[in-house]
């Protein structure tokens, strides 16, 4: 079945059918659904060259994937991808992953844009003064940043969660519970989210006249092993912290193990709060002591990034607007009042 036959069957113009299939905003949702259903039922597939010609669009969203033997892709990426995939499927987008040398992503960005492979790109794990955002601003392709950079002298479109607010609230709760020696096990310092989380905690402590001292901060790639090592080294100092805030659930597994090895009981001897991206395969409420968390679904973030990219491609969204999602602080059994005599 071709476009003409499909249009005749639906008693719609070819233009309307084509626009419906290509997600033009002028076509209302009911018509779009009717056209999509009929296309599916009758096995109509728009010729991709024709579609590209008709719309100038590739129907693809791009992501430059840093690779290399030293690069471990974080399992967070899977959940993000699930959300992005949910939206993309419903709106007939595909996702192109372009693997890049982690030491030279620029070459790959330039290639992807020059090749017109994709209609838009997203950037993730932004660093302070992120060079990729500067580059995309020059290259002129629609893009959006998942997360935020700092120190760029222009605005750019982004979607982030309130990492600073989340760790501020977590810190504030611990201070209210009487904790004053609060440690931070963070992601790598090169990542902006880690900068924001440290700042949030630091400000929460400062508001009560407390200081987040450098020896109380650890920054590592977010693995179970690094969580363990960081917690060991923190808990073996004297006086040791009475509370730890930790940037990932996977790291928190290691923190719990370290506490157990040292005979430190949660929450009696030490409170623990971790950030939870809402993985279906690892839940904070199922930790041996249910884990208090700052919680934000990275799957929903993936869907939102896809939605905004689609809007930018079709011209529904313009400008440089950033959005910041609030983060829930969910209290569970792993937090309690500060022990009166730690290290006793």
């Amino acid at each position: 079945m071709n476009l003409k036959q499909l249009s005749q069957m639906l008693e719609l113009s070819q233009t309307t059918v084509s626009r419906a299939l290509n997600g033009y905003p002028e076509v209302n949702e009911e018509t779009r659904r009717r056209v999509m259903d009929a296309a599916r039922r009758h096995g109509y597939r728009p010729n991709p060259s024709a579609r590209r010609l008709a719309t100038g669009k590739a129907g693809m969203i791009g992501y430059v994937l840093p690779t290399g033997s030293a690069v471990d892709i974080d399992p967070h990426f899977v959940e993000f991808l699930s959300g992005l995939g949910d939206y993309a499927r419903a709106h007939d987008f595909d996702l192109v992953l372009s693997p890049a040398d982690a030491q030279d992503e620029e070459t790959t960005y330039r290639r992807v844009v020059a090749n017109k492979q994709v209609d838009a790109l997203y950037v993730s794990s932004p660093k302070p003064a992120d060079k990729r955002i500067k580059l995309l601003e020059q290259l002129g392709l629609p893009y959006i940043v998942h997360g935020r950079s700092e120190g760029l002298h222009f605005d750019y479109p982004f979607m982030d969660i309130d990492n600073e607010g989340a760790f501020h609230e977590a810190g504030r709760l611990l201070v209210q519970l009487g904790h004053s020696r609060i440690a931070l096990i963070n992601g790598q310092r090169a990542e902006t989210f880690a900068v924001f989380r440290e700042r949030g905690l630091r400000n929460a402590l400062a508001a009560s006249g407390l200081v987040l001292a450098t020896p109380m901060i650890r920054s590592f790639a977010m693995t179970e092993e690094n969580g363990y090592r960081a917690a060991r080294s923190l808990l073996e100092t004297s006086p040791r912290p009475t509370a730890i805030i930790c940037s990932s659930l996977i790291m928190a597994l290691g923190v719990v193990r370290a506490a157990r090895d040292l005979g430190i009981e949660i929450p009696k001897d030490m409170s623990l709060i971790a950030h939870d991206d809402v993985f279906p395969w690892l839940k904070p409420e199922n930790f041996s002591v249910p884990l208090a968390t700052t919680r934000s679904s990275i799957r929903l973030a993936g869907a939102r990034i896809a939605e905004r990219l689609a809007a930018r491609i079709s011209g529904l969204e313009e400008g440089k607007s950033g959005e910041v999602w609030p983060v829930d602080l969910v209290v569970r059994g792993s937090v309690a009042g500060a022990p009166t005599r730690a290290n006793s």
Copy 2:
């Protein structure tokens, strides 16, 4: 810089340069590297339409990604993707993820092939008598299966690990250590790998006159929570198993938690072996009791799938050959001789 200028500079014919850039096997590795280096240094980017015209290739590998609110993509996927990305980057391939309705992947496969979006596809998580493999056989695009199906009446190219052998060896070791009540916490039954693992364990027990009884088997999506639930229900039966073999490290976290909640000590009261895909972020040697595993790097599998797809695209690999990788059985502290009086 265009192709002509690049060729003149390198004192090579345009044909050779073009072939080198497009990974033709006729060009030797040294020349290819020289050409790629020069192209990179001088910012030469082959026009994708020209490349497609010259080679008939899109330079893309495809994967149909099942999506939907009920679908959780497994974190294994990230590691696989890392390996695939490592190879793809070195050979200038991109990866197209086409999100599909998990209830109707066929429509998406047909679209991807009809659109000539990709040069080859891979299929993962194959099911018994997998319909997608039948479909790809008809559609005629190069493909490879990561894993194996069963009950198809034709050969097809695949790369799998020896799941049956792995769980056979794990079971045999436990039997040799005196265990007779051995339970299996497996992935979902619809997956062929789970079928193979169950078979391997069953045969190992049968070789010693033992039976893997249905009440000793649990099959679930591989989350920590499901590992916990499965282990609880197994360990609360009487007589309870003295050993558990478990299909994933994430599930094993839940098994360890269940044992701890019930006051069952590993390995004194219960031995535990789990399958390890070699995640950098969760290591079996770091479990509270170091975990014995059947080990195979899913990252290496990803790289191998990419390598074979590239070979099939360029015509270096033909036919329907399957390869099966042996799996290491790594013994650690979580296995011991069967307790003489369990449930005492």
